[in-house]
């Protein structure tokens, strides 16, 4: 075993002005559990074949660059941004729903003040986007875009309509299950997450290469929202709950 050249280290330290390179203990983020995240290449999802890296990723330690990340003023988001049914003159067509939940870390701690962005197809399964040429009607009263900032308990809340299923060209007779896209920042570059929320009982789920790209069945199931009486509004809207868990720090203990 090589001994540390103590003297040399001391000298080097002495040379450094205290301010130039400050020593910080950087707490990294816990590696995700095996199988709970998709690989980049998933052949049944055809677009991944020409777009996923072929060389192994290079493992790097966490530095200040990865444990920090953009923060946003909650004022960026208005109340209207979280109600997708009130962004136009009239109500959109479709079944009104409440989608709410919490953004937590792996230790079950709420992540407050984090930006949640969502987008989705309308009730007929058509996106308000020029690339979407699916032969289903656009709804002039529905854009399908929302955003919210989590409160002190990590909660977010959207009112929207249930998105429709729609065909895509991945394989013969391919249909996407109903889903809502989510984008979340969390506290750091390391915690950035883009995912999709699905609906319980959707018959298309077992056939969807995107939903099924993750090996771990429990991990897949957590992408399915839960029907929720607590947020269901009588005579008005069904409630679905969807919690988002971002990676936890290495140093913080897991809750039992």
């Amino acid at each position: 075993m090589a001994l540390r050249p103590k003297q040399k280290a001391k000298k080097r330290r002495a040379k450094e002005p205290a301010d130039s390179v400050q020593r910080h203990v950087v707490t990294g983020y816990r590696a995700v559990a095996v199988g709970t995240q998709p690989n980049h290449l998933h052949r049944p999802y055809v677009s991944s074949i020409k777009r996923s890296p072929t060389r192994p990723l290079v493992r790097i330690p966490y530095t200040l660059s990865e444990i920090t990340g953009p923060t946003f003023d909650p004022k960026l988001v208005s109340n209207a941004d979280c109600d997708l049914t009130r962004q136009h003159k009239a109500a959109p067509l479709g079944e009104r729903i409440v989608v709410s939940g919490r953004v937590l870390d792996e230790g079950n701690r709420p992540l407050s003040n984090t930006l949640v962005e969502i987008w989705q197809a309308n009730a007929a399964g058509r996106y308000q986007h020029e690339v979407d040429q699916h032969e289903a009607p656009l709804d002039p009263n529905f854009t399908g875009c929302g955003r919210a900032v989590t409160d002190s308990e990590g909660r977010y809340h959207f009112v929207t309509i249930r998105p429709g299923e729609y065909p895509w060209r991945n394989h013969h007779n391919a249909w996407r299950p109903a889903h809502i896209h989510f984008s979340i920042f969390g506290p750091a570059f390391a915690t950035r997450l883009v995912t999709q929320m699905y609906f319980p009982g959707d018959p298309l789920l077992p056939f969807d290469p995107i939903f099924n790209c993750t090996a771990d069945e429990k991990a897949r199931r957590r992408l399915i929202s839960v029907f929720d009486w607590d947020t269901t509004i009588p005579e008005h809207a069904l409630g679905y709950r969807f919690d988002l868990i971002l990676r936890g720090c290495e140093a913080t203990p897991m809750e039992k």
């Binding site: 400050q22 020593r23 910080h24 990294g28 590696a31 559990a33 709970t36 995240q37 998709p38 690989n39 980049h40 999802y45 677009s47 020409k50 777009r51 890296p53 072929t54 060389r55 290079v58 790097i60 330690p61 966490y62 530095t63 200040l64 660059s65 444990i67 920090t68 990340g69 953009p70 923060t71 792996e106 079950n108 962005e117 987008w119 996106y127 986007h129 690339v131 979407d132 955003r147 896209h181 984008s183 750091a188 570059f189 950035r192 997450l193 883009v194 995912t195 995107i210 790209c213 429990k218 897949r220 957590r222 992408l223 919690d243 988002l244 868990i245 971002l246 990676r247 897991m254 809750e255």
Partner: protein, 189 residues
């Protein structure tokens, strides 16, 4: 029961609908200190074709090497109005462009300074989870000793360093596959 991080899913082809409002290709407004740089590049797939529906996100420190984030406790000044975040979708050719300032060096493992860099996320249809990489600045004296670049095999390091294409103008491409495949990092995700 231990809670596990939510599984990533692709951003899909229609992300503009939900994410466009926060697009930002000019990271440093007037009055923000630092050397101005215009950065352009393309996201290129395994067929050598530009990816027309990719999203590039940038995160960087200010010119003093300080991140606008509460966990950056360095005794360095913040720049008012500089968040350090950019979000740029690619165009029909797979091209992206943004303007910013060159960040100052930030500390790396064991206090060793890192060469100035941008940290980058790339999202697109076909990617079930984002790719993470870095863009370094050509000619910087700290490149030779950067602790993260040292972890990359020498022949591939150039994929992380932009090229000078003019005065204050840099080019840096994201090559998804092939001989010049960009180095992507594993952050334990």
């Amino acid at each position: 029961m231990r809670v596990r991080a939510t599984t990533s899913q692709t951003v899909g082809p229609f992300f503009e609908l939900g994410l466009q409002w926060l697009n930002c290709d000019n990271l440093a407004g007037e009055g923000v200190a630092g050397e101005r740089v215009a950065i352009q590049g393309r996201v290129i797939d395994g067929d050598g074709v530009g990816v027309p529906d990719a999203l590039v996100e940038v995160w960087q420190a200010n010119a003093h090497g300080k991140y606008a984030h509460p966990d950056d406790r360095q005794n360095k000044p913040l720049e008012p109005g500089f968040r350090g975040y950019g979000r740029i979708p690619t165009d029909q050719r797979g091209a992206f462009a943004f303007a910013t300032i060159k960040p100052g060096p930030v500390p790396g493992p064991r206090g060793k300074e890192q060469a100035p860099h941008l940290v980058i996320s790339v999202f697109m249809r076909g990617l079930m989870r984002r790719l993470t990489t870095r863009m370094y600045f050509p000619g910087d004296a700290l490149l030779a000793t950067d602790p993260i670049l040292k972890l990359v095999e020498p022949a591939r390091r150039s994929t992380l360093v932009a090229k000078i294409i003019g005065s204050g103008a840099l080019e840096w491409n994201v090559v998804l596959q092939g001989t010049n495949e960009t180095v992507f990092f594993d952050l334990g995700l």
